[in-house]
């Protein structure tokens, strides 16, 4: 990843929450709703108690970025606290599932198990 891309990813948590609120019109408290985090999973988006300098902020975990993208890509005023937290839990599960898939040893020759064949509506005259 290039440095400028890296910098773009360094979203302050406060900004994240603010953007969520602006984007979907939910209450300012949504980021503070606790989410039960399992081992090795990132915490739910949360407002920091005192703002930390930008330079020391760790980049948000991918789950938070995905949630941000989702609510900005598909804004809806009915995305309330419960929905946001539920979606966040789902995203964490999806990311964990993706890791499990990536860890499975696959060979180049392991083809996807779907069937696809060329198609034409009528039989070629010379076939």
């Amino acid at each position: 990843m290039r440095q400028d891309e890296d910098d773009n990813c360094r979203m302050q948590r406060r900004d994240f929450t603010r953007q969520l609120v602006i984007g979907v019109g939910v209450s300012a408290s949504i980021g503070a709703v606790p989410v039960a985090a399992g081992p090795g999973t990132p915490p739910a988006p949360k407002l920091p108690e005192d703002p930390a300098p930008v330079a020391t902020e760790a980049p948000p975990p991918p789950e938070v970025l995905l949630l941000t993208y989702l609510v900005r890509r598909y804004p809806n005023e009915r995305l309330d606290e419960v929905a946001i937290q539920g979606i966040f839990r789902d995203i964490r599960g999806d990311v964990a599932r993706g890791r499990a898939l990536a860890e499975f040893p696959l060979r180049n020759s392991d083809e996807p198990a779907f069937v696809y064949s060329a198609y034409r509506a009528t039989t070629p005259p010379n076939s």
């Binding site: 929905a83 539920g86 789902d90 999806d94 599932r97 993706g98 499990a100 898939l101 990536a102 996807p112």
Partner: protein, 473 residues
Amino acid sequence: MPDTTSRAFASIRELAADLRSGTVTSVQLAKYFLDRLQKHGPTFNAVVRVTHDIALDQARQADEELKRGQDRGLLHGIPYAVKDLLATKGIPTSWGAAPLKDQLIDEDATVVGRLRAAGAVLCAKLSMVELAGGFGYKQANASFTGPGLNAWDKTCWSGGSSSGPGSAVGAGLIPFAIGSETWGSIMTPSGYNGIAGLRPTYGRVSRYGAMALSWTMDKLGPMCRTADDCGLVLNAIAGPDPLDPTSISSPWKYDRAAQVRPNASDGRRFRFATLDVDFDRLEPEVRKNYESSLEVLKQIGTIDEIKLPDLPYAVVASTIISCEMGAAFGDFMTSGDVWELSAPEDRWGGFSNLLIPARDYINALRIRGRIQKEVDTAIKDFDAIVTPTLNTEAGPITQKFTEWSRGFVSTEISGAANAAGLPGITVPNGFGARGLPTGLEFTSRALSENSILEAAVAFQQRTDWHKRTPVIE
């Protein structure tokens, strides 16, 4: 009018014999079951629509044909119903979802057409969990018809997503129904309601005209009073269909002759396998019934314990469903229609699926190929893998599934079989502490429906759990 009361829980063969002996007509049978559906269906939240006029028209035609000697087979003149995810010409198809309750797909699903050709009589479209449960419902109240109520206890769940077929067949409101399974949706309601439910090999039954939740995992199958009935119905609906490119090209026939095989004295015995069941997850009665069932199976075959290959079955199956569902219902979610669903958790439960990387989906499909091959190798020497269908009796509709289901299943066979498209059948094998049914599941290699049918029929020839009936008030 002949006494048809005793026919509520009759098998297809019994009803077919009555029709041919002239003790009852198809119209009389249709009226009888239409009445039961109208009277009792709403008390189980089992019915979306009773197709009264269509049923009587089809029944009259069946009577005329049988009278003049035109016999279409054992389903001729037999009433049936379908889960309301199958398209039916002229009748709305709701998919169990409030925002779609008036949706009209004005053609018959292939399955409906085939049952029509077999002379069966369509009496109702039955309730289901909204959108076949693909949005992650976590409790029973997830359909615009209300929570599906169990045939044996209306305070308990009928299972999902084929809720209506489960309770309607269980309560004797209809002789058989067509359900669908993407992952568990035939087995679960069949197990909880004490009926026989068959999940065919993927592609055995055309999906044309059925709601697509997951194109590569959806299966349609019969839910009936007996395993033998499942064979008869599958015989009518299976086979290639140019309208479904995933349908298996070879025809299928129910091997009636094979049913007489399972006598220990004929020298040909079954080979069953069991898996490493997590007994801690089973209710004590479920375990006891399972162990008793194994004793019955020992009369007709051998039982070996095997282990499935160590593969990520659940991860693969759930990833495939999530991604395909995200594509199938992306517009439904982003248009806002999703917010009209009944279960609050279903309203947002599909959104994360819009973001899963294509790489995850493709890799899940690649691992699926490995699953197909390695599981087939592991089970190829056996007629059937035998497991408890579910970990518990049906639980209360007022509680979340996590409070009572114990994770629903205690082995990996459910995820493995659905990921690999393998057939399975569940039959009742006893009752739990609260008097609700428990089930025994037979799973086999792809294309081996006759093996599991034969085993299940043999089990039912030696037990009478399928003859027990609930009291319907």
